[in-house]
Symmetry: C2
Subunit: 615 residues, 2 copies
């Protein structure tokens, strides 16, 4: 069967196979031995199990190569058999498959990624790439990366798989708390994999189908990619020394109609399942077929959403939620303390700077290490690691160097925001491929190699060009955040408001999200904070989505709170009232005076009433 | 000759006559006797002088009725002759005129207006109305009100004259300081008279033609109405007990070509001039004819300007000047101190409230006395008097009662702003005639008897209707200031920003100026000042021209300063830098930290540079 896996997925639900490992154990594989070893020792048993799954109705069977990567095999003493195992396993599956799809199974390395362990992103990617190259060349229809518990490792595997011309399924396993072992919630996993270009996103090896459903529901809210589910047959129990999975096929398949409502397109089983489960799935899916495809609305909804994530949290840009602040303070320009910290690798200084911004209210942090006298790639790698250990907010990678940028994107476990491209095609042609590979969003500055257009229309035109070129790379409007640029009032006073005018038109005409580095407006002027917060209010009034600001500035944060209230991002002023109290609460004398107005209507209200009634 | 005075003025320059009083004195009228008495005693002499002026080339002669109002005549014991003098004097002029125009001369009452004297506006208007009715019924072509030194008295005379279907020339006399005796500069006089519908605005009885030129230049900057000049023949000197005017006709006429550049359309002489002067004027005007009408540009410029004045100062709304703030604090709603002050006529409280706002930076003051338990008309009259004694800024008359409004407009010596009309035709039909009669500008609220439209388009439509109806009354777009209305964030959160959206579209699509009562946005909420100044920044960013605010709020004023800087209303930040110092000056530690950024380019600047050069 040809490589029409993705098109088949558009038309119908594909049934996967069930467990291989637990089936082999039932066939005599002692626990502690690698299932992959039987590819060489007992190929017939493998073949027989494949055939049983195909006979039970599987439309996709997996190669018995889950642990067949160099690192895992090395720990089993099978390192020198790596090519043989992957190639033969693919051959066995292919032979058994007939018309059904063969998915090349790729599991974790078993090693911890940096900084918790010593497996680097590059090394992990190379390990996966090696295995996947054997699988692909041996003829798998699709690569299925599964049972991953660290999103960083999965990212390395996905980057590896995406180097081949083959569809990619990526599945993680989730703990009973509904997050991965390293703490990623389903939404983060789904957003990151979606944006990395994975074809099917899923969950496998969870305790049971109910646990899978919880994960899938969350994933389907943030992605319109097809989803996949391969749950275990319940939690394993120990019965007379043997590990037994308690769930029956009927109990297992009960939840499938519910699952299908959430864009699940591929369903199989993991540990403890067997061909009877697959038969059951097939039956239920066949009967439930009509109720499928109810998710079209959700698909459309997801279309224009801008998501950013850390490893542990995600945010969705939206005009009915409080504006998201990008903290600007991790930037050595004019900051001797930060310069010294970066040079001397005093990470506590950096981490404090990050923590304080988040405590002050930053929703994202801009990371700029632009200074002389350091190895920027090495420094950036460490900075991203340290920041991810300290804070949970999404990061904004602020560097003009593609090498430094890629280092950051590898190290960053989430969906980063790249700061920035501009209208220069050379810049875009270097940055957009990285954004695609690592699933990042991109800030586009409305300038090009001729500078910043002084007129609004010129800036708008550059924004259009950035969006158009992004589209050529497969990036959508939701992946681009335009910075209409504010010039400093000190030297370009007459152009300051053009930034806001451009902002408004970008939102109205191009429908993309916007960002702006607010502090630039006051550059060189006295009382910068006053200028910054006043300009920020104007920009927020015009719809700015991602202000880049100093969140440690209390007055500025007060302005943000008031602006959220005024622009109805802070629904019913809940945050505002929580912060400042309602008018029955504590109040200053000044507020007391003002309160005299509160019992009665305002003068203008009264005025209007009078105008309408008395004249 | 028929009433085609105004159309003739469009085509050519009209030469007026010269002095009557000093001519009569030369003929034996002893000083201390009224020239008007000779209308009865020596009508031939009057007639002869008229004839001489016509023969000298005058295209307009004035009736010998300058002091023929009831109050002046009473002081001369001629009260019972009032009708006879005015009618006979008109007859004499008419007989002498032939084809030239007869202007009915109206001079001051000789009494002081309230509150300095006891002449009320109503009484003054009635006195003028009586005299003018005799003149008009006796057949004058135009009424010329002249030698007025108190703009308030002149306003009463103009209101009286405008009750008849006859063109009106209104002239004031100016001291050597270039202002009227009661302190009005030429611009204020010109703006007020223009807006009251006077046909020709001018200066007479000033020391000489050079003094007139100074006044005319200033007037021509703010009005495109035809201007008139009737100067004296220099400063009177006493020679052997006689009063002599030193200027010769040649010296007098030297400046006429210069005068003609400033839209002067009517030139005659006042004290000390005689037919030789008129002959000289005629000659010079004839020769200078080609160079006339150079003022078309100025005319167009004046077209769309919104001026407001007090008795002593004027302001012109303009987007390249700092925004004009309307102080909101004179309003008894929720202010027990003000309620008691108004009830108990403790004017010092009111005056302090006014003074403090002006010192704090208010450019206009809203005057609202809406409270129960007072005689509102009596109170408003007194309040306007007191405020004009205390402060020099233009006032905004904020009342829904037309009776109270008209009382204020009579008492107010300047161009007031009426707060407000709305889309209800009944309201407009009551208020617009008052605006025309007293030369006021009008705030139009975008609401009507169905309430405030929740959508921007609905509010815009009401604004259009207000402007259209205003036009029917002869008011221009520059006379209307639209208030797009901000609702309170507490109860109408989702509509708050519609006020600003409407504001922006009003400015873009209708081209009129805008105002907004900012404080309403925070009604009922805690930390109102924070909300107010944040909303104000948004509104100023959208182009708000006349914010109604509490200027005593220091933080709000700081926001205004920053907004003026950002919107380039404060050119080169001159005010801002004056207020906050430049960065070489005193600064706090906090500013010191920020200053570290100043020596180098901002990070974003650097970023852009790098993006453009290094990638
Ligand atoms: Zn499993
Ligand atoms: Zn499995
Ligand atoms: Zn005179």
């Amino acid at each position: 069967m040809a490589n029409d896996f993705t098109s088949t997925l558009q038309e119908k639900i594909i049934i996967g196979d069930g467990a291989m490992g637990t089936m082999l154990q039932a066939c005599g594989l002692s626990s502690g031995h690698a299932p992959e070893s039987w590819v060489i020792k007992k190929p017939d048993t493998i073949y027989k199990i494949h055939k049983e799954y195909v006979a039970a109705g599987a439309g996709l069977i997996e190669t018995n190569t889950f642990g067949a990567n160099r690192l895992k095999l090395k720990s089993l003493g099978l390192e020198d058999k790596i090519e043989e195992i992957n190639v033969k396993a693919t051959g066995l599956a292919r032979k058994a498959a007939g018309k059904v799809f063969v998915a090349g199974s790729v599991g974790p390395t078993g090693k911890l990624m940096e900084p918790h362990g010593d497996l680097s992103f590059d090394r992990a990617r190379d390990v996966f790439k090696e295995q996947i190259s054997y699988l692909v060349h041996a003829g798998v229809d699709v690569v299925i990366i599964e049972t991953m518990s660290d999103l960083k490792e999965l990212r390395a595997a996905v980057v590896a798989a995406k180097e081949f011309n083959v569809p990619v399924i990526a599945q993680m396993t989730f703990t009973e708390r509904g997050i991965t072992l390293t703490g990623s919630p389903p939404e983060v996993v789904a957003i990151v994999l979606d944006k990395m270009g994975v074809d099917v996103i899923g969950v496998n090896c969870v305790a049971g189908i109910e646990e899978a459903l919880i994960v899938i529901k969350k994933m389907s809210r943030v992605t319109s990619k097809p989803l996949s589910v391969f749950p275990n047959a319940g939690l394993p129990e120990s019965k007379g020394g043997e590990t037994v999975y308690p769930q029956t096929p009927d109990a297992f398949t009960d939840k499938i109609p519910e699952l299908l409502k959430y864009n699940v397109k591929l369903i199989g089983g993991c540990c403890g399942t067997n061909p009877r489960f697959i038969k059951g799935i097939k039956q239920v899916v066949y009967e439930a077929k009509v109720s499928n495809n109810t998710n079209t609305d959700a698909k459309d909804e997801n279309k224009n959403r801008t998501y950013l994530t850390s490893n542990h949290t995600y945010l969705q840009a939206s005009e009915d939620k409080p504006v998201f602040l990008i903290g600007e303070r991790i930037n050595p320009t004019g900051r001797n303390d930060l310069k010294e910290a970066l040079k001397g690798e005093k990470w506590s200084v950096l981490r404090k700077e990050a923590r304080e911004q988040v405590i002050a209210g930053a929703h994202l942090l801009d990371v700029n290490i632009g200074m002389a006298g350091i190895d920027r790639e090495k420094c950036m790698k460490k900075v991203i690691q340290e920041l991810q250990l300290e804070v949970d907010v999404p990061l904004v990678i602020d560097t003009p160097r593609t090498g430094v940028l890629e280092t950051a994107l590898k190290e960053y476990t989430g969906r980063a925001l790249i700061n920035s491209v501009n209208g220069n095609p050379d810049v875009m042609d270097k940055v957009f491929p990285l954004a695609c590979r690592y699933g990042a969003a991109v800030i586009g500055l409305t300038l090009d190699d001729r500078g910043i257009p002084s007129e609004v229309e010129g800036r708008l035109e550059i924004a259009r060009q950035i969006i158009a070129r992004a589209r050529e790379y497969g990036l959508g409007e939701e992946d681009i955040i335009i910075d209409p640029i504010v010039l400093t009032a000190g030297s370009n006073q007459s152009e300051v408001m053009k930034g806001i005018e451009t902002l408004k038109r970008i939102k109205e005409e191009l429908g993309v999200k916007t960002t702006m580095g607010i502090s630039n407006v006051s550059h060189g002027l006295p009382n910068r904070k006053l200028i910054n917060r006043t300009f920020l209010a104007m920009a927020l009034g015009a719809g700015l989505d991602f202000p880049i600001v100093d969140p440690v500035d209390e007055d500025l944060m007060a302005t943000v709170r008031a602006a959220n209230l005024l622009t109805a991002r802070d629904r019913n002023g809940q945050n505002f009232l929580k912060w400042y109290g309602n008018f029955q609460g504590n109040k200053s004398l000044e507020e007391d005076r003002l309160d005299n107005n509160k019992e009665t209507k305002s003068s203008r209200d009264k005025e209007n009433d009078r105008l309408l009634s008395s004249i």
